[in-house]
């Protein structure tokens, strides 16, 4: 398929996932703070911006509070990391490939966008933010469902899923980085915090099934990072991405993207959570994230970039 179409689909996948995961991050931060001392709040919101690499984009650190960060991450059209911006970009991307996706998928993305435009989001965010997050999660999952049900398993579908999985792996790493930073500061058991973390990625029930009610931070980390079965774990996301990428690259070609993704996946697959914690979780998560960036760059070079993105200059010489 055309590189441009593939790129549009890949980024549609990434933006839809970004919108969903940003909503999840906001949700868990918001709820985590409900039962914390009031002094905690600014630090928590700063951490959120930090982990999303949006501190500079946000600007004045003095202005950081629940309302400003929430608005920035949900509503600010100039913030490329905000939910409305992600949804708008996803819609632009899908529109660019309208002929290559099912009508249902286009309609799902378009109606989500229109709903975000039509609603009074500032009022809702002030009043009942969880409703907004629920809506975003719901719509994003609906889009994923529609894609799953209405698109043939061709390259277009694969790029869409590849984008989502790469984004999800990265965002889950970020979410874990935030939670563990906070929990390290707060001594003592924090049962409700772990429940909130698990719920934020829809993992609570799955976790209970595997570990009963034992709310062990190490097990929670292991579950979200290394579970081979849970669809939002970093390992599962990378393994799914790898399967699609392998199909896309085709057999027998030693593409850098496949090699890098295989390495990232293998590192997770063959590591023990205790070793991770012993050698430092932050470094580990940063390492995984930078591997994902390299994979993204390799995908970009392999499929999308062939010079078309460079500026064109005309010259004359006498």
């Amino acid at each position: 398929m055309l590189s441009r179409h593939a790129e549009d689909l890949y980024w549609a996948g990434r933006y839809i996932e970004r919108a969903e995961d940003t909503a999840r991050l906001l949700d868990v931060t918001y709820h985590g703070l409900l039962e914390s001392p009031p002094g905690e709040a600014p630090a928590a919101w700063r951490e959120l911006l930090d982990v999303l690499f949006l501190q500079d984009a946000f600007g004045d650190p003095e202005a950081i509070n629940a309302a400003t960060v929430t608005r920035f991450l949900v509503l600010d059209p100039d913030n490329p990391g905000s939910i409305v911006a992600a949804v708008a970009r996803a819609r632009e991307n899908v529109r660019g490939v309208r002929d290559r996706v099912s009508t249902e998928l286009w309609e799902a993305v378009n109606s989500f966008y229109l709903e975000m435009v039509d609603r009074d989001l500032p009022a809702e965010l002030a009043d009942r933010p969880y409703e907004v997050y629920r809506l975003v999660k719901h719509e994003c999952q609906a889009i994923a469902g529609v894609a799953n049900e209405s698109m043939p398993r061709d390259d277009g579908y694969r790029f869409l899923v590849l984008g989502r999985m790469i984004e999800r792996a990265e965002m889950t790493c970020r979410m874990l980085a935030i939670r563990y930073a906070r929990l390290r500061r707060e001594a003592g058991p924090a049962y409700h915090q772990w429940v909130a973390v698990l719920k934020s990625v829809s993992a609570y029930e799955a976790y209970l099934k595997e570990h009963r009610a034992a709310m062990d931070p190490t097990r929670v980390l292991e579950f979200l990072l290394l579970s081979p079965d849970f669809p939002r774990s970093v390992l599962f996301s990378l393994a799914t991405a790898e399967a699609h990428l392998t199909d896309l690259v085709g057999p027998g070609t030693g593409a850098a993207a496949t090699r890098l993704l295989g390495m990232a996946r293998a590192r997770l697959e063959f590591c023990e959570v205790d070793d991770v914690l012993a050698s430092g979780l932050d470094e580990f998560l940063e390492g995984v994230q930078s591997e994902i960036w390299r994979v993204d760059d390799a995908i970009d070079r392999h499929f999308f970039r062939s010079g078309a993105d460079l500026d064109l200059h005309a010259y004359e010489a006498t």
Binding site: L2, S3, R4, A6, R98, D99, F303, S306, A308, L312
Partner: protein, 482 residues
């Protein structure tokens, strides 16, 4: 004429459907069917038509509107019917015209320029045409098919004579509406449609693809790779570009999807570069290649013109067709038909005056309030001044422009376009119409039965362009012998 629908219907000028108060024979069945319907019924169907177009997202862009607003395509419920004997003449006349114009173009760009050398039309006229692309000299077209898709605008005068109003040989648009109108018509008036033996139009995509494949360069692979090149999603005809790509089952590409290496054109795909043999391009000449054309915008595909010249890829339509649809060249088309084909023209022109000829300029200035003045190189009705409807100031401006730049304009006799029953404001009324048939030429020439009938929805208006309040009609060409 007993029902409400036609009760107040008054023919104006040459009516397509009635002679005096009697339906013409080829309209009899349709009129009978309509008479069996009420105005409410028609209104409901009109509503349904609009709903169909809206849900299909069939829109057109309105220039001048803010943010390039898109409107739903307006199709009038009452179809235009062309009987077989009329269509026979039109079909032959259109094919003849496009054939002659293609030969003229081929002669200009790769031939000896025989018609110019022999004085059929003045050399300076050709050389002063904005559409004459010197950069295209030497670039051949397989089978001489330079006008792969031509849109020829026809009108019918007050005596019912079909005349050619203008030729569109660069990137004519509108065919997607012909096909969509037919789809909608079979849904909203299925019974009326079924009672006529209407020649189909839905093979257009296949015919166009055949034509495009037939002009592939000799080095093309099998199967031939055809693409549709669009300026992008913001172009007013983007809908049509996507539609045609879908109909043909080929890739819809933008300039940035294409790249030239060693004078061969490729598209950038996820599995590497894929060779392209034929480009049905809906991008204007000047925006095709920044190496060759200094548009300043750096749009297009660098090297594509060199590739076309090297003969590794065919561009359709060919480069430089604008010289043949220059309105100041149009009056010479009957002469070109005689010169290149040795035939008399089957479809006459509208009487046209060339202001660069001093005596004709005087005549035009004298009758400015009766004539229609058109800039020579515009398309889509832009810049046209209808003398009888223009203000005194406007006429002064036009007169000044004609004197300052006589080569830049033509003046035509105002044609009182034929009229057709049209459903407006809950009743049937006579409105002026024209017709744009489409002619496909590859190895062979084929005229799509019918074409786009455009209708001026305002009473008395002669301006049928959709961007200026015009609507459209499905056009039924009846099968012969019926």
């Amino acid at each position: 004429m007993s029902t409400d629908l036609f009760a107040e219907y008054r023919s104006v000028g040459y009516c397509e459907a009635f002679e005096e108060r009697t339906p013409r024979p080829h309209y009899a069945a349709l009129v009978r069917r309509l008479e069996a319907m009420s105005a409410d019924d028609l209104a409901q169907r009109a509503h349904l038509t609009a709903a169909i177009f809206r849900s299909l997202g069939i829109t057109f862009a309105v220039y001048g509107d803010q943010e390039g607003a898109e409107r739903t395509w307006p199709m009038d419920l009452i179809p235009r019917i062309v009987p077989p004997q009329e269509w026979d003449v039109l079909e032959r006349g259109l094919a003849q015209r496009v054939r002659a114009l293609s030969m003229f173009l081929d002669d200009l760009y790769v031939g000896e320029q025989a018609s110019v050398n022999d004085g059929v039309l003045p050399r300076w006229l050709v050389e002063s045409s904005d559409g004459y692309l010197r950069q295209a000299r030497g670039i051949g077209a397989p089978h001489g098919a330079r006008v792969v898709v031509g849109g020829i605008d026809l009108v019918r005068d007050d005596r019912g004579v079909y005349r050619v109003l203008e030729d569109n040989l660069r990137v004519p648009s509108g065919i997607s509406y012909v096909l969509e109108n037919r789809v909608a018509m079979t849904r909203v008036l299925p019974v009326a449609f079924a009672r006529h033996e209407v020649l189909p139009v839905n093979h257009y995509g296949a015919s166009l693809l055949d034509a495009l494949r037939s002009i592939a360069p000799p080095a093309a692979g099998e199967p031939v790779t055809v693409v549709v090149l669009t300026p992008g999603v913001h172009n007013s005809a983007y809908f049509e570009h996507a539609f045609l790509a879908r109909q043909m089952g080929v890739e819809l590409v933008e300039g940035r999807d294409l790249v030239v290496e060693d004078h061969v054109l490729y598209m950038r795909t996820t599995r590497g570069l894929q060779r392209v043999d034929v480009v049905y391009r809906r991008v204007g000449d000047e925006f095709l290649d920044p190496v060759v054309f200094r548009s300043g915008s750096l749009l297009g595909v660098p090297g594509i013109v060199a590739a076309a010249r090297a003969g590794t890829v065919t561009l359709a339509n060919a480069l430089g067709n604008g010289v043949a649809d220059d309105k100041a060249v149009y009056p010479y088309v009957p002469d070109l038909i005689r010169y290149y084909l040795g035939e008399e023209e089957l479809l006459p022109n509208v009487t046209t005056y060339l202001p660069w000829q001093p005596d004709q300029l005087a005549h035009v200035l004298d009758r400015l309030d009766e004539l229609v003045v058109k800039p020579v190189a515009e398309a889509g009705g832009a810049g046209i001044v209808v003398g009888s409807q223009a203000s005194a100031e406007e006429l002064d401006r036009v007169a000044a422009a004609l004197r300052a730049h006589p080569r830049g304009f033509v003046a035509q006799e105002t044609v009182q376009l034929s009229t057709h029953p049209t459903f407006v404001e809950g009743r049937l009324a006579a409105r002026h119409i024209d017709l744009r048939p489409f002619v496909i030429s590859g190895e062979r020439t084929e005229v799509v039965p019918g074409g786009l009938t455009r209708v001026a929805l305002r009473e008395g208006s002669l301006i049928v362009n959709s961007s200026q309040g015009g609507g459209s009609k499905d056009t039924w060409v009846l099968a012969g012998g019926g």
